[in-house]
Amino acid sequence: MLGHTGVTVREAGPGDAVGGVLPRWVARPESVDEISVVLAACADADLAVVPAGGRSKLGWAAPPERADVLLDLSLMHDVLEHVAGDLVVRVQAGIPLARLAEILAKAGQELALDVPFPEATVGGTLAAPAPGPRAYRYGNARDLLIGVTVVLADGTVAKAGGKVVKNVAGYDLGKLFTGSYGTLGVIAEATFRLHPIAADRCWLTFECEGWEDAGVLMRSQLEPSAVEIDRPAVGMSMVAALFEGPAARERALVARELLGGGEVCAESPPWWGRPPGEPLHSLRCRVAPHIPDGVSVRGSLATGVYLASGPADLDAWRSELPGHARLVGLSGEVTGDRWGPNPSLPLMRRVKERFDPGRRMSPGRLAGGV
């Protein structure tokens, strides 16, 4: 029994299912040590473990081959260290991003990630990253992450990076774990680089038919922080560009002139940074993509990273996309191959084998049974 460790454990209920797979127990650790104890015990008994944060993306990617224990990190929700002068914060992985944002805002700072799901936690955002509009300017979760503490399938606690923004000592395990969907181990704590909240924000929005090319904006020197498109399944598309900083409004006005129209406004459009719906697909494509009937797309014209929604045969859709494009079924019903091509799969497999030889960490949630 785990009683002597003090880790809270309960029987799992229907609400704890991961992509339709019902675990037997839910463990709720409150510290890195407790995570380690639980994982070591699971290793002894060959129990499969699925880590969970805000559960906003538990249904994403493939369901696990097996799941005995849902490792619920929601009790690990504290800010451990926030040194405003260093623009750095260290947190427990279970902290929801919305709560973290509130705390940082008091110091005029932010973790510059726009997450499409407000209940998402730091751990979930790293393990299952979702694109946000300002990734164009600030990068993705992996770019803002500067340190990490992880717990491996055998209970080993390891850290990498640190709490300084510039650091090249050792391998960057934090980046490795980004996108790992719980298959390498548990992300227990994370340290991020922060940004000052921009003095001003201003959006330029305009309507267009179908797909719009953001070339004019990207070739200008106006430095938008984001350029997003909302292309519904039927009807007109909208494009919105965000300008941040002391001269945000002036720049938005110049952009309007360049484009010959649009509306300048201090509020984001309602669809900004929100997922388009279910079923959800991840689309990466650097040119105007083919979009099947009934599918809506939202995302960044600046980075070519989108979320798409709607019924679609993924194989058929892929055949209409350029070779460099990537289309992956994230959630909801998937028709066709969920994954599509991934040239780095052989290396991913080798990493998985070294980190989790017993295949106990969220086995099978990624391509090729990883």
């Binding site: 060959d46 260093d86 606690v157 709490k163 070739r219």
Partner: protein, 472 residues
């Protein structure tokens, strides 16, 4: 058949070097006090040739080391006397440039600056700018995750590399890209110092040149006042493209070497560069000047032209070499501290100077707390080199004590492998070793670098089985 016979069969004679005199060119990188003569040097021209060499190494169980331009400062490209040195200097083609997609694909031997030069007249550039950018290779930058003065705002190599073609230590050619769904293998490879394989094609992000750039040189009576200005600038929510600081000794050296004309009475100078849309830069410049004056700066110069900007930077960019003018020998240290600990750490370095009778010139990327103390010594004076090494090591201890890092951009290499256990536990290092074993189970790719005690990649542990009932 020997390894050399096999390489001779694969390459024309001018691209396999075994002549001892010619081999000496490759004995060391920028860290010249570690030297070794490689068994053989090869100069491949294609990915396939690199893969072929690596396969020969695998077949014979021989280690290999990649080398770009050899400007590394941690002995990363130090050859193995029992191994093959694979030099990328003949792989200098820019394969493609796509300004619409703001990306370029280049071979590993292309110099950092050559990328910017290829697109500058069309208004684009490649952001990471190590001071060595005229010579260092992009492959070396990828291996070291190199930074530069402008990484405060724009990030490091890892934030600007979008995809790689790599030759794995088994000799397979693989692609890893930010577009891959799953583990961020690209992020793990960048900064791995040549220990996970060889990058043979690099896709980098190009950036649109900023509308306005302005460079300010502010002179302060002492380093504390300069440090306060840095904190106040950051505290005001300004993210300059660069904030660099030099102390009196570094200023003296730079003056002697390149006559940069910094105010001679300055105890410290700060170089602050702002870039971006003109309206933004203008308002921030006024704010930064006010902050500098408020924290005790007695002179401020704003570069009015590209020439003047270059002149301000000249002193800073030549600082490493310049200390050669005021000291027969020196160690370039590279450590990082949280910005808020800068004052304490600099005071600690002062104390070390007094304790050991060794002078230290300070040059640093103040915005991100990356220190480059230059530890000066006379290599002809008995014991001084040893004392300088102690001071250099103690500076790293100070960095670790304040929650910093033993290297911000020069890498661990051979030089700092022994310091890794001061920053990381055995469990941390063993976990990193799992990555190594996944990529390079034979331990042939740049062995002896980064990690203090290379472990063998043994059998993967067997799965243990038990009954769940015993636990819950």
């Amino acid at each position: 058949m020997t390894v050399i016979d096999r390489l001779d069969a694969l390459f024309p004679p001018d691209r396999v070097i075994t002549d001892p005199v010619r081999l000496r060119t490759y004995e060391c990188d920028g860290l010249t006090y570690h030297r070794a003569t490689p068994m053989v040097v090869v100069l491949p021209e294609t990915t396939e040739e690199i893969a072929a060499v690596v396969k020969v190494c695998a077949e014979f169980g021989v280690p290999f080391v990649a080398r770009g331009s050899g400007t590394g400062l941690s002995g990363g490209a130090l050859p193995r006397s029992d191994g093959v040195l694979i030099v990328t200097s003949r792989m200098r083609r820019i394969i493609s440039i796509d300004l619409d997609q703001r990306r370029a694909v280049v071979e590993p031997g292309v110099t950092n600056l050559a990328i910017t030069e290829a697109v500058r007249d069309r208004g684009y550039y490649y952001a990471p700018d190590p001071s060595s950018q005229q010579i260092c290779s992009i492959g070396g930058n990828v291996a070291e995750n190199s930074g530069g003065a402008h990484c405060l705002k724009y990030g490091f190599t890892v934030n600007h590399v979008l995809a790689l073609e790599v030759v794995t230590p088994n000799g397979e050619i693989m692609e890893i890209s930010e577009d891959d769904f799953g583990y961020d293998l690209l992020g793990a490879f960048v900064g791995s110092e040549g220990t996970l394989g060889i990058a043979t094609k690099i896709t980098v992000r190009l950036m649109r040149a900023p509308e306005a750039v302005t460079t300010l040189l502010a002179a302060f009576p002492n380093i504390e006042a300069g440090g306060q200005a840095v904190s106040a600038i950051v505290g005001a929510g300004i993210v300059p493209a660069a904030i660099e600081m030099m102390d009196a000794l570094a200023i003296e050296a730079a003056e002697a070497a390149v006559a940069c004309g910094y105010p001679p009475e300055a105890g410290a100078v700060l170089i602050v560069e702002l870039d971006g849309p003109a309206a933004e830069v203008e308002s921030q410049l006024a704010e930064v000047i006010a902050i500098c004056v408020g924290t005790g700066s007695f002179e401020q110069r704003v570069a009015a032209s590209a020439d003047e900007r270059a002149k301000i930077w000249k002193g800073r960019k030549s600082a490493f070499a310049a200390v050669g003018r005021i000291s027969p020998a020196y160690i370039v240290q590279d450590g990082v501290v949280p910005r808020t600990s800068l004052g304490e750490v600099l005071a600690g370095i002062d104390a070390l100077q007094v304790e050991f009778g060794i002078r230290v010139a300070n040059v640093f990327h103040a915005g991100d707390g990356n220190l480059h103390p230059l530890v000066l010594f006379d290599d002809t004076a008995p014991g001084e080199g040893h004392r300088a090494e102690i001071v250099s090591g103690r500076i790293l201890d100070l960095c670790i004590l304040h929650g910093g890092s033993i290297t911000g951009e020069h890498g661990v290499g051979v030089d700092k492998a022994r310091y890794m256990p001061r920053m990381f536990t055995d469990a941390d290092l063993d976990t990193m070793q799992r990555v190594r074993c996944a990529f390079d189970p034979g331990g042939r790719s740049n062995p002896g670098k980064v990690f203090p005690t290379p472990r063998l990649c043994g059998e993967v542990p067997r799965v243990r089985k038990g009954s769940p009932g015993e636990i819950f």
